[in-house]
């Protein structure tokens, strides 16, 4: 029986190039290059490495503007079988609740699903809430913040990173798994798969395809609103230049101020 895997991915502005529009207080996406969210690439890799070993079919699902099909094609170029882009004006301005709702509605429409992968978080909204939100809408368990995921004997085994250690969790599908940024080394696209992907294309679904009212998604369906944006003022630091020959003086200054302790320790 084919394992049905869904990977949720998002196209995000390259985090090194982002600018904020001072008027609308939103990301100025025009300036930054758009890329596949890095953790989502790790999530895809986790899915692909399961597909390397068992009979599996991978569908990419993403909600975003029409140009997000590029990111989906990239995933297909790496080995995903199908791509679905939820794109509609109605989806715009969504916080995590309606984002999760729209994605869960799309996944429900796909039919059977065993494993649903997501990244730990996106670089542009960094909440990590969408994956668990989808799990809740679908009423299934989740294994979050994993650095490794295996599928064996009908069980998913995930290693989760917690503040005090690594927890090993086992669950039967269906389950949502979120993958840590840097959990693995994502493979590259192959020319062959890239060509296949372009031939297959990305399916685009609008709100009509999801069978939920348009007011439930996007800005209208979002419980939270951004009231204001303020630049964070950094503490001013002097950046006093110190040459290598002056390090002795610096060390004496730090010792004098009690920043470092130069009492010869008892051996």
């Amino acid at each position: 029986m084919t394992l049905e895997i869904v990977v949720m991915i998002k196209q995000v502005p390259d985090s090194q190039e982002v600018e904020i529009d001072p008027v609308t207080k939103t990301l100025n996406r025009m300036k930054a290059r758009n890329v596949l969210n890095v953790a989502d690439d790790n999530a895809l890799e986790a899915a692909l490495s399961i597909k390397d070993r068992v009979d599996a079919h991978i569908t990419i699902v993403s909600m975003g503007p029409p140009m997000a099909d590029e990111a989906i094609l990239e995933c297909m170029g790496k080995g995903a079988d199908r791509g679905v882009l939820l794109t509609d004006r109605a989806f715009a301005g969504a916080d995590t609740y309606p984002t999760g709702l729209a994605l869960a509605a799309a996944i429900t429409k796909l039919g059977k699903y065993d494993l649903i992968f997501a990244g730990e978080e996106t670089s542009d909204s960094s909440t990590g809430h969408v994956g668990p939100g989808v799990a809740e809408f679908l009423g299934i368990e989740q294994i979050t913040y994993t650095h490794s995921v295996e599928f064996e004997d009908g069980y998913v085994i995930g290693e989760r990173e917690l503040e005090d250690g690594v927890e090993i969790v086992r669950a039967k599908p269906p389950v949502v798994v979120t993958v840590l940024l840097g959990a693995n080394i994502p493979r590259r696209q192959t020319l062959r798969k890239k060509i296949d992907a372009i031939r297959k294309g990305v399916e685009t679904w609008t709100i009509q395809n999801l069978g939920i009212p348009a007011e439930w998604v996007g800005f209208k369906g979002s419980p939270t609103i951004v009231r204001s944006m303020k630049t964070i003022k950094e503490k001013e630091r002097a950046a006093k230049m110190v040459r290598v020959e002056e390090i002795g003086g610096l060390v004496r200054e730090l010792a004098g101020n009690g920043i470092i302790n130069v009492e010869a320790e008892e051996k």
């Binding site: 904020i20 690594v166 002097a238 950046a239 130069v262």
Partner: protein, 351 residues
């Protein structure tokens, strides 16, 4: 299970009162970041003249309920069962949502640990409300009793204030290490409502089959940190930083790429996806100063940057900038400390 349903506005928001805090527990004690939530939760509750109610889910909850009481909870509610001993998302979210239905809190705070974030979004969806992630500033509009949830966005350059006006509870997760752990009291006036529950077996769908504890290293408690980045160029660079750290009585930290290439273990990583530290002295050697690193160390008292690039971004976050090869600067640093120590020793001997 919530099903495919929207977040309809809450019908009588004025009926929702009090501040809720979820107390995450590990190995029989409340985690530090949840104690921090008690601190900020109490502050918010006091401002609007309401109570702070803390929520526990787990087994053998009594000592933790008492601990919560000592830190300032007005009331502790809890669901207790052997089936809840390990953190499992579905039953934990179930009981949290059940207490929300019963107690109708206006505000609900959860520490943004991995388990806290795992849970928060599910509770929010169950309660058909919003949640603001990873806040660093939390306040309340005392007239409207609206939570002012502030979170850093866009690589920590901007603070966004996020409101959830029409839905209850107003939920937020808060970044660990930002808020203060409150002082302990006698905890005598705390009301307790810990219930034994029978967990519906359909909620138990995952099993914790193992745990590998971290081997004791906790960078957040260090007073002095000497961190290295890709500029070290090789794994052995950390041996050099280790000598400097040990002369200073400190520990070694790292940027994320230095961890990713395998030069040092992940518990040394400082930054957005590593640990946030605030030592007396932070030395950054061969680190460029990208936002995701800066956010983890900018609270340090004194920052020294060592970087061969005169335009390195780290310079503007530093008190002292040594613009040179770290392989020249660090040995010089070590030498300088040794010299002073020698001198001190001589003086002591002669005195």
């Amino acid at each position: 299970m919530t099903g495919l349903i929207n977040a309809a506005p809450t019908e009588k928001p004025e009926e929702f009162r009090n501040v809720f805090v979820f107390l995450e527990t590990r190995h029989g004690a409340i985690v530090k970041s949840s104690l921090e939530m008690i601190g900020i939760g109490k502050e918010i509750a006091d401002k609007v003249g309401e109570k702070l109610v803390c929520l526990l889910v787990g087994d053998h909850l009594e000592p933790m309920a008492e601990e919560g009481a000592r830190y300032g909870c007005d009331k502790v509610v809890g669901a207790e069962s052997v089936d809840l001993e390990d953190f499992k998302t579905m039953p934990y979210a179930h009981y949290a949502a059940q207490f929300i239905t019963e107690e109708k809190p206006n505000i609900f705070l959860i520490a943004a640990t991995h388990n806290g974030r795992d849970l928060a979004s599910r509770i929010a969806v169950k309660s058909r409300t919003g949640v603001t992630a990873d806040c660093t500033v939390i306040d309340v509009d005392t007239k409207e009793r609206i939570l002012l949830a502030n979170r850093p966005v866009y690589g920590e350059s901007t603070l966004a204030e996020i409101l959830c006006k029409n839905h209850r509870p107003q939920m937020a997760t808060a970044r660990p290490g930002v808020f203060k752990v409150p002082d302990q009291l006698d905890g005598k006036n705390c009301e307790m409502d810990i219930r034994k529950v029978n967990v519906d077996p359909s909620l138990i769908r995952k099993e914790i089959v193992g745990f590998r504890p971290k081997e004791g290293f906790d960078i957040t408690s260090a007073g002095i940190i000497v961190s290295g980045g890709l500029g070290l160029g090789k794994k052995e660079g950390f041996t050099l930083l280790e000598s400097l750290a040990s002369e200073l009585g400190g520990v070694v930290g790292a940027s994320r790429p230095a961890v990713d290439v395998g030069w040092i273990e992940r518990d040394h990583q400082v930054g957005q996806t590593g640990r946030a530290v605030r030592p007396k002295l932070y030395i950054a050697a061969g680190i460029s100063g990208k936002a995701q690193h800066i956010v983890g160390m900018k609270q340090s008292d004194v920052i020294i940057a060592i970087n061969s690039d005169p335009d390195a971004e780290i310079a503007k976050y530093s008190d002292y900038f040594i613009n040179d090869d770290l392989y020249k600067a660090v040995p010089e640093f070590i030498e300088a400390i040794r010299k002073i120590k020698e001198k001190k020793k001589e003086m002591e001997v002669s005195a």
